[in-house]
Amino acid sequence: MARSFPASPSDPLETAAWLRWSLIALAGAVMLLLVVLPLAMVLAAAFAKGIGVWFAALVQPDARAALRLTLFTAAIVLPINAGFGLLMAWALTRFEFRGKRVLLSLIDLPFAVSPVVAGLCLVLLFGSDGWFAEWLAAHDIKILFARPAIVLATLFITFPFVVRELIPLMQQQGSDEELAARSLGAGPWRMFRRVTLPNIKWGLLYGVLLCSARAIGEFGAVSVVSGHIRGLTNTLPLHIEILYNEFDSTAAFAVASLLAGLALVTLGLKFWLEARHGDALARTHRRH
């Protein structure tokens, strides 16, 4: 995406100048209309009644609770997904076993199903009529409409990011360096720390970055399982929705501008990673 290819001095397809320029103009217009303008509108609406109102909307207790919950969720989800993503990528690129292909396609499941369906699955499992309902009730554990469900839903939705970045990267690098390290007498831990990790660290960071952007912004699955309890189970996106539904659009846009800001920071970091360490990222896919 951010990689530039050497520009050819003359267009080998010899597209007519008017066509070339109208295509470029069209692409620019679409970007402006669909991406830049809405983002600008969010900021404009957020600051419409002055910076004081904007600030007040952010420090309001419910908003602060929502921000805390969002960061709390991300703080749990990121290390878990990084760790499991690494294990999963390791297993899938370094071992041969039955069912490997099935497992590989299952990884994409969270991307394929609608987040709402993911949320409903959790309701089915942990809800009052769910499979684990009796056991949970007996042990007085609350999952649904509480923090655990929000974390679980976010985990599910963001699981593929790290694995999908690491698998092509580790496939591309092969295991020769690791085998070399072992044959030179390094133990498994030393091999991992000194050879594997340095080779995949930028890819891992890239995956974690994409994962965090999604974890912070996730709405659908979390909305199903959260219960929308103000100050308790509302994440930032849910909080925005509530504000908006209550016609408090200035506050809604103020909180939305915070999310948009986080997204811009992520985008900047992503751009930097791709420009600076593009070689150390998986070359086979550059989407998301």
Partner: protein, 396 residues
């Protein structure tokens, strides 16, 4: 350290990659594992290294059974085709990795490691490159660093997997001569895999020719070239011409000509004569295999002729040294083709596909083994000087 392979077998999805292979390698030897892809040479190397586990059989380092030892415990030096250098470590970091990975009580101190790295970099002639990173090195330099890294841990054997495979032709030739000199310095027991017969013949003390997971022949390069144990080895080891015929009363017979064989041999309804392009002379049409000259092309120092031998599907290519007095007959001339050195292999049940082919060759197998190869001949009795072919009798 000497190395012994005992009846090693390995199967992948029902296909034999190694089929009861036996091999003995003496301490200090430089041995090539040669064969086309799928012949099992890389599998054998990887089993010796401990990168793969055999289904059955043993790998012995000296008297110690290493079959059950892990990669880490075997203490082998392994050099990969694509170098597998640690990208984020300097040359010195790569070379010292093995020493730094030792458990504390066996780990040399910093100064000793530094000395050892300098020593090894001098050995591989890269003393100025210690602080460079792999991406700043050429392919040949990378492979030399990989070699230094493998040698740093004083391995019991050095194993190289297609070590020159990723290099371009010129560097490849330089590097293998350099490796030969290095081996003469270090006398490290070394095994390398290659599919390039030239590389194997030039570099190795002994060459192991493999086919379908079995060893076809183990011999010095000279014997391999001069006296291939089978038609397969003959064809694999260099340019080869084949002439189909039969063996009758001590003669190799094709339609129109019979060649007296210098050694006793049993009759065979179908046999094949193999000879190298430079081991032929042209004679009168009735004094050799009758043939028609089809094409001739000249390279700097040799002339290559393509001839159609009567009744043969495959043409024969011969090389003549281009001395000033050599006259090439006109295209379409009738000539006789006389092989000076050749091997005749019967096409009998012993070489039919699927039938057991003897693979347990003793070390330094005698050049002639009557059960497999009917004869190898240097037939210069009629005094033909092969450097200056006698073309006087050839009429255009």
């Amino acid at each position: 350290m000497d190395l012994h392979i005992r009846r090693l077998s390995k199967r992948y999805a029902g296909v034999s990659a190694l089929d009861a292979v036996d091999l003995d390698i003496a301490s200090g030897e430089l041995v090539a594992l040669l064969g086309p892809s799928g012949s099992g040479k890389t599998t054998l190397l990887r089993v010796i290294a401990g990168l793969l586990h055999p289904d059955s059989g043993q790998v012995l380092f000296g008297d110690n059974d290493a079959t059950r030892l892990s990669l880490r415990e075997r203490n082998v030096g392994f050099v990969f085709q694509h170098y597998a250098l640690f990208k984020h470590m300097s040359v010195a970091g790569n070379v010292s990795f093995g020493l730094r990975s030792r458990p504390r009580r066996r780990r040399p101190d910093k100064a000793a490691i530094r000395r050892r790295v300098d020593e090894l970099l001098a050995l591989v002639q890269l003393p100025e490159h210690r602080d460079r990173y792999p991406e700043q090195l050429s392919g040949g330099q990378k492979q030399r660093v990989a070699l230094a890294r493998a040698l740093a841990v004083d391995p019991s054997v050095l194993l190289l997997d297609e070590p020159f495979g990723a290099l371009d032709a010129k560097v490849r030739v330089e590097l293998r001569r350099w490796l030969r000199r290095l081996h003469e310095q270090t006398r490290q027991t070394t095994l390398f895999v290659t599919h390039d017969q030239e590389e194997a013949l030039e570099l190795a003390d002994r060459v192991v020719v493999m086919r379908d997971g079995r060893i076809e022949q183990v011999d010095t390069p000279d014997v391999i070239y001069r006296a291939p144990a089978s038609a397969y080895v003959f064809e694999f080891i260099g340019r080869a011409n084949a002439i189909d015929g039969r063996v009758e009363r001590g003669e190799f017979v094709v339609d129109g000509h019979a060649l007296r064989l210098p050694t006793e041999c049993a009759d065979a309804a179908r046999a094949r004569l193999y000879a190298r392009p430079h081991d032929f002379v042209l004679v009168d049409a009735d004094a050799g295999f009758p043939a028609t000259l089809r094409r001739a092309h000249r390279l700097a120092e040799r002339i290559t002729l393509e001839l159609g031998v009567d009744g043969q599907a495959q043409p024969v290519e011969i090389d003549l040294t281009a001395t000033p007095d050599v006259v090439v007959p006109a295209i379409g001339s009738r000539v006789g083709l006389k092989p000076l050195r050749y091997c005749v292999y019967p096409e009998g049940p012993s070489t039919a596909p699927g039938v057991e082919w003897p693979h347990e060759l003793p070390l330094h197998a005698p050049a002639t083994d009557a059960s497999r190869r009917l004869l190898t001949a240097l037939d210069a009795r009629d005094g033909v000087d092969r450097e200056r072919p006698d073309l006087s009798g050839v009429r255009p």
